[in-house]
Symmetry: C2
Subunit: 456 residues, 2 copies
C-alpha cells in the first residue's frame, strides 16, 4: 500500500515530465462538436492508445456511430474489485476566441495554473488518474483489474458511446465506476458527487384557429392558444410548488435520511444564493429543505414559451398557435419514459374543445443516478478524501440537481457502483475562455487516485 | 320631407357626376401613416374644404398635433336636433401593391364596383353622406344644423383629433353623432352598430435571476419567471372563463335584456363560426350567450408571451426574464384606467419573493360605447333602415366586440347619441389589396343619409 507522502514526493519528482506530457495532451484540438476538428480528435485518441499501451494496458480504439472511444484494460487479482474508469478526451469549442489570453491549444503555465481548452474538463482530470496509475504500476502497487473508457463525444451528447454500450456490456463489467469529471466547493472540502438527476424534454404546440384572429371581433368566442399554454404550464405545479402531475412521484426513491443530513452539511445560505443569482431559493416544494428540492426531488421547468406577437407595441390578436419547451429533472427511481407520458397526459387535460395539442419534439433517455453514503464504495472514497483537505478531515457530499446521462447509463450497464470525485473549481472556467487547472488541483487528484487504487 | 323614390331618382340622374367626383376624391394619396404622403393628405383636406364651402357650409381646416381636420358647419332650425357627422379622409397604405389589379389611386369602375384605396373605408362611406346632404340642400330639405368633422389620422391612431377635442368641445356640441364607418352582414339586413368595446393594453416583464440559470443546478431553488408569467396569465380567468380580477365587473353596465334579445337575432351558429375560424366559439364566460360574451362582456387576452429559449431543440435554462403582452376589451361603463390598475394589482399577487414585475408599456384611453335600441335616435335610424333592405323591413343590431376609441370620445365630448350605420361588406376588402365599394352600396348609403337627415 502506497502512502500520501510517497505519492506527493513522486508527483514532485516527476512534475516536469508530467507538465510536458499534459501539454502534449492539451495541444490536441479535440473539439467534438465541430467537424473541422475531426483530425484533432483522431490524433488525440491515437495518442492515448499509445500512452496506455506503454503503461502496460491492452489498449484499443472502439468505433462508434461518431468518434472512436479509447478503451484500455489491465488485469489484476481476480479476488479484488474491478474498477471501470470513465472520462472523455473531447473538449468544448473555444469561442469567443478573442477573450483568451493565450492560445487555447498552446497550453501555457502561469502562476501555477495551466491555461488551455480542456485543462480541467476533462483532460486535466483524467490525466491525473493516468499518472497515478503509472506511478502505482511502476511501484508494483496496482493490484486490481482496471478498465479505462475515454469517450470522444461527451461535449456533444455522448450519442456514440450510448449506442455502443450494449455491445461492450461484458467488456466493461465492473464493481466500481470511477468518474473524475466533477468539482468541489473548495480544496479544503474535497467532495463526492453522490447524485445526478435525470432529464426529459418535450416541446408542445397548441393549435387554435387556423389564423391569428382580431382580439376584438373574436374575443369572448375564440379560445386563445397562448392562454391555454399558460394554463398547461401552471397546471404542472400545485400552489405550494409540488409537481401536480398525477403519479409523478410514484417511483421516486425517498432520500435516505442520513444522506439528507449529510447533504445539508454543505455550506448554503439564502444570502450566498442571492449573491450568486439575484434571487432567493424559493422554488420547489414548500416545507422541504433546499438540498431535497435541488438534489433529490424532481422538477419541471418551462424553458421557453413563444407565440403571438413579440415586437414593439401592441398587436390585438388571438394567436393561432402557441409553443412551450418543457424539461423535467427526475429523481432516482423515476422512469424517464413514464414521466414523459404522465406529463403529456396531464397537459392534454387543459386543451379546450376544438384546440389541438401536438408534441413536436421530445426525449426521455436520461435517468437519475444516486448513491448513498452508506455504500462501502463511498465509505472507501470518504476515507481517502478525508486525508486530502486542510479542514480536519471534512468531506463534502453533493447530490447535484444537474444531469450526466452517460454516467447513469454506464453505472447501469457496467454494474459498477458510481464513485464520482473531482477537483474542479468555479475559477477553472470550464466551457469558457481561459479554462485552467492548477498544479495544486492536479496533485490533489493524483494523490486521491493513487491512494484510491492502491487501497481497494 | 323627401322620399326614398325621390332620392333614388336624384342619385340615378346625378350618377355620372357623382362617379367623377368620387374618383377625384379617391385619387388623393392620403395615406396617413407614411410621411411621404403628407402632400396627398393636405391636398385631400383642401379639396374637401372647397367642396363643403361650395355646398354652403362654413368650412375650415383645424390643425392638430398631426394632420389637419376638416370641419364644416351649416346652421339650421334651432329647435331641431344638431347632428355631428364624423368620418375620415385618410386611408390605409397600399402594400402589397403587386396584388392590386389596378392602381390604388387611379380609381377604376369594374362590374359596378369602384376599385381604389379608400373606395369604402372611409371615403366611399362619407362621400355618400356628402352627396345626400347636397341633394337635400338643393331641394330645400336640410332643416337641421349639421356639423361635419373629417379627420386625417383614423388609420394611424387618431392622436391629433384626440388631443384637439377639449379645444373644440363647444364647436362640436351635438344631439346626435352620426358615424358611417361600419358594415353590415349583407345588404338585405341593413344594420346599426350598437356598441363597441373599449381597449386597454399592458406589457409586463417579470424579472428573476440576473442571468439565465442552468435548470439542473438551480431547479428546485430559483423561481422561473416564465412559469410566473404563465401563472399570472392563468390567474386572470376562473376555470369557467369569467375574468377573475377582483372588482373588474363592478362598473360594467348590464345589457338591457331587450337589446340582448335583438343581438341574438343576428345569424350566428357554431358551424358558421368553425367555417370562419377553425375553432368552436368556446371562450368567454360559460353559460352566457355568444352575443353577451362577444359584444357586452369584457375580455382579457394575452397577445404574446416570450422569454427563455425559442430556437431549435432543447436549452436547459431557467430564464432570467419573461414578458407578456395583454389587452382587455372592456364593456360599457368600465373606466379604462381603473381596469388597468385592477389588472396590474391582480398580476402582482403572483410575483414570488425576490422576483420583480415591471409594467413596461401600457395604455388605457379607449372606453366602450353602447346604445340601446330603446333610444329615440336608434328608433329613428331603424325606421329609415327598415325601408332599405329586401328582407321585409328587418334591421340588424350589432353590438361589436371590436373598438373604435375616437367614436367613444366624440360621443362623450360632443354629447351626441351615437348612431353608427354603414354599408360595408366583407367583400369590400378594406385594409387589403383591391379595396372596392359598389354603386349599389353607395346608393343605399345615399338614400339612408338623405332620409335620415330630412326626417329629423
Amino acid at each position: 500500500m502506497i502512502t500520501k507522502d510517497t505519492l506527493s514526493k513522486a508527483f514532485d519528482k516527476n512534475l516536469e515530465r508530467y507538465l510536458a506530457e499534459w501539454k502534449e495532451y492539451l495541444a490536441f484540438q479535440s473539439v467534438s462538436t465541430d467537424p473541422q476538428f475531426e483530425g484533432g480528435c483522431k490524433a488525440c485518441a491515437k495518442w492515448l492508445v499509445e500512452k496506455l499501451s506503454k503503461l502496460g494496458f491492452k489498449a484499443e480504439l472502439i468505433p462508434t456511430s461518431g468518434k472512436d472511444m479509447v478503451y484500455a484494460e489491465r488485469s489484476g487479482d481476480k479476488s479484488k474489485p474491478v474498477v471501470l474508469f470513465y472520462g472523455h478526451y473531447d473538449v468544448q469549442p473555444v469561442d469567443p476566441i478573442e477573450l483568451w489570453k493565450s492560445d487555447p491549444f498552446t497550453p501555457e503555465l502561469r502562476d501555477g495554473r495551466m491555461y488551455a481548452r480542456g485543462a480541467e474538463d476533462n483532460k486535466g482530470q483524467n490525466f491525473y488518474v493516468l499518472k497515478a496509475l503509472e506511478t502505482l504500476i511502476e511501484q508494483g502497487q496496482l493490484k486490481n483489474t482496471v478498465k479505462i473508457l475515454l469517450e470522444g463525444e461527451e461535449e456533444c451528447g455522448s450519442k456514440g458511446i450510448a449506442g455502443a454500450l450494449p455491445k461492450i456490456k461484458e467488456k466493461i463489467a465492473a464493481d466500481i465506476l470511477l468518474v473524475c469529471d466533477s468539482g468541489t466547493l473548495n480544496l479544503d472540502l474535497p467532495s463526492i458527487t453522490m447524485g445526478l438527476r435525470g432529464l426529459i424534454f418535450l416541446e408542445v404546440a397548441l393549435h387554435g384557429a387556423f389564423k391569428d384572429l382580431h382580439s376584438g371581433t373574436h374575443g369572448g368566442l375564440a379560445p386563445n392558444p397562448l392562454a391555454v399554454i399558460a394554463k398547461m404550464i401552471t397546471s404542472l405545479h400545485t400552489p405550494d410548488g409540488r409537481i401536480a402531475v398525477p403519479g409523478y412521484y410514484d417511483q421516486l426513491l425517498a432520500p435516505d435520511q442520513e444522506d439528507l443530513k449529510l447533504a445539508l452539511t454543505m455550506p448554503f445560505t439564502d444570502e450566498w444564493y442571492v449573491s450568486q443569482t439575484g434571487v432567493l431559493p424559493v422554488a420547489g416544494e414548500q416545507g422541504k429543505s433546499w438540498a431535497e428540492r435541488n438534489g433529490f426531488d424532481p422538477t419541471i421547468e418551462v424553458n421557453g414559451i413563444y407565440g403571438g406577437y413579440s415586437g414593439a407595441g401592441v398587436k390585438t390578436i388571438i394567436p393561432s398557435v402557441a409553443y412551450a419547451k418543457i424539461t423535467s429533472r427526475i429523481g432516482a427511481g423515476q422512469d424517464p419514459k413514464r414521466c414523459l407520458d404522465l406529463i403529456v397526459k396531464h397537459l392534454e387535460k387543459s386543451v379546450p374543445k376544438s384546440c389541438r395539442m401536438e408534441v413536436t419534439n421530445s426525449s426521455a433517455d436520461a435517468r437519475a443516478l444516486r448513491v448513498s453514503a452508506a455504500a462501502p464504495e463511498i465509505k472507501h472514497a470518504t476515507a481517502i478524501l478525508s486525508q486530502l483537505g486542510n479542514n480536519c478531515g471534512a468531506v463534502g457530499y453533493i447530490w447535484m440537481g444537474a444531469s450526466f446521462p452517460i454516467a447513469a447509463d454506464l453505472a447501469e450497464v457496467s454494474g459498477g457502483t458510481p464513485v464520482m470525485v473531482g477537483f474542479g473549481l468555479e475559477e477553472d472556467n470550464i466551457h469558457a475562455p481561459n479554462e485552467s487547472f492548477s498544479i495544486e488541483q492536479l496533485k490533489m487528484g493524483y494523490i486521491f487516485a493513487g491512494l484510491y487504487f492502491s487501497n481497494l
